[in-house]
Subunit: 190 residues, 2 copies
DNA sequence: GTCTATAGGCGGATAGAC
DNA sequence: GTCTATCCGCCTATAGAC
């Protein structure tokens, strides 16, 4: 892995964990085994490094999902796979979810537009086509939004689940969660 | 309103909008019509001010919800009201949602435990009792988590809805959203 | 392409006058 | 209880040696 990629990887980790403001160029450089000024040979400034990090993480995640969405499965199987794989990927590699959720907390219009168009639009369109086959009458925009909310929130809440009432062993099982989310998705489609 | 409360109000606004790291004591003081050192007559340091802000905003929101949850309505009516009022309150006064979501992004165990026990536990228990009356067989923990995810995410996504595919006018209507969320909640309970 | 040294600004926090 | 003045550290970013 070349230096450029090494920096992006470390930056993704730190920005995801602590957020843009809480991470210094020294932190990133240190993580990447160099000094802060060296970063400026690869990125114009901190903002550029952050943007490049977002682009890297988001596009990687998207191409991973497209494989599932363009498979030849029937609509139900595809839907189930999307839920399952999204959960798995977000659980084992939290950078995508964290960076996305941090960006969602910004209320600058152009950053939200970037998120919508560059990160979510493709997946939404693919999902829409699938839902169309299952139930053309349903409110697809609502259902897709609900699905994204489900996926993000259930993974996010995993770390504090032990502190919440009514929790059982099965809730730590991603396969069970995935099944529940898929079930309630289908029910809300009918 | 005394100075103490004035500071808390301004701090809540700024912390919610920009996050802890991105807000300086000078920013808060300026918003409250004073100079930064004056803040230290009311709060030991920035962390204390932040904690006090969280406590203020979270407890206010919780007491507002308890009124609904302890009303004498039937379970279905209560549930519908909880959804509706939560959406309304979060839409018109975003500080609670933003501070909650920012705290959820931390992965420090004790802060998550604080959130779970001081912010969510009461509401969860009340909801659990309601769900028990509707369908004792259902996975209440999952349903309640889903509901919270729904509420938070649909309000959050409101600002970028125009950029997402398949959006229609009705999606900007809180009453419609509230109905949809309640409907899918009931369906996933059956 | 990486380093040291450093500029220049902003951050949290305190001292002490009023 | 609020202010001005100030300390001191960390920040981003650049200059220039190697």
């Amino acid at each position: 892995m070349d230096t450029y990629q090494k920096i992006l990887t470390c930056a993704a980790e730190l920005f995801a964990e602590k957020g843009f403001e809480a991470v210094s160029m020294r932190d990133i450089a240190s993580q990447a085994g160099m000094r802060a000024p060296s970063l400026y040979n690869h990125f114009r400034d901190k903002q550029s490094l952050y943007q490049a990090t977002l682009h890297e993480v988001f596009s990687q995640h998207n191409t991973a999902l497209i494989g599932v969405l363009t498979s030849t499965d029937d609509p139900h199987g595809k839907l189930q796979q999307v839920v399952h794989i999204s959960l798995l990927k977000m659980a084992e590699e939290p950078n995508f979810r964290l960076l996305l959720q941090r960006e969602l907390l910004q209320n600058e219009r152009d950053r939200l537009q970037f998120l919508a168009e560059e990160v979510m639009a493709d997946t939404c369109h693919q999902l829409q086509a699938i839902l169309q086959l299952i139930n053309p009458q349903a409110d697809h925009h609502f259902v897709i939004t609900s699905l994204m909310g489900h996926l993000l929130f259930h993974v996010q809440i995993a770390q504090m689940r032990d502190f919440l009432p009514g929790v059982e062993d099965k809730h730590a099982d991603l396969a069970y969660l995935s099944q529940q989310i898929y079930d309630s998705l289908l029910k809300s489609l009918k």
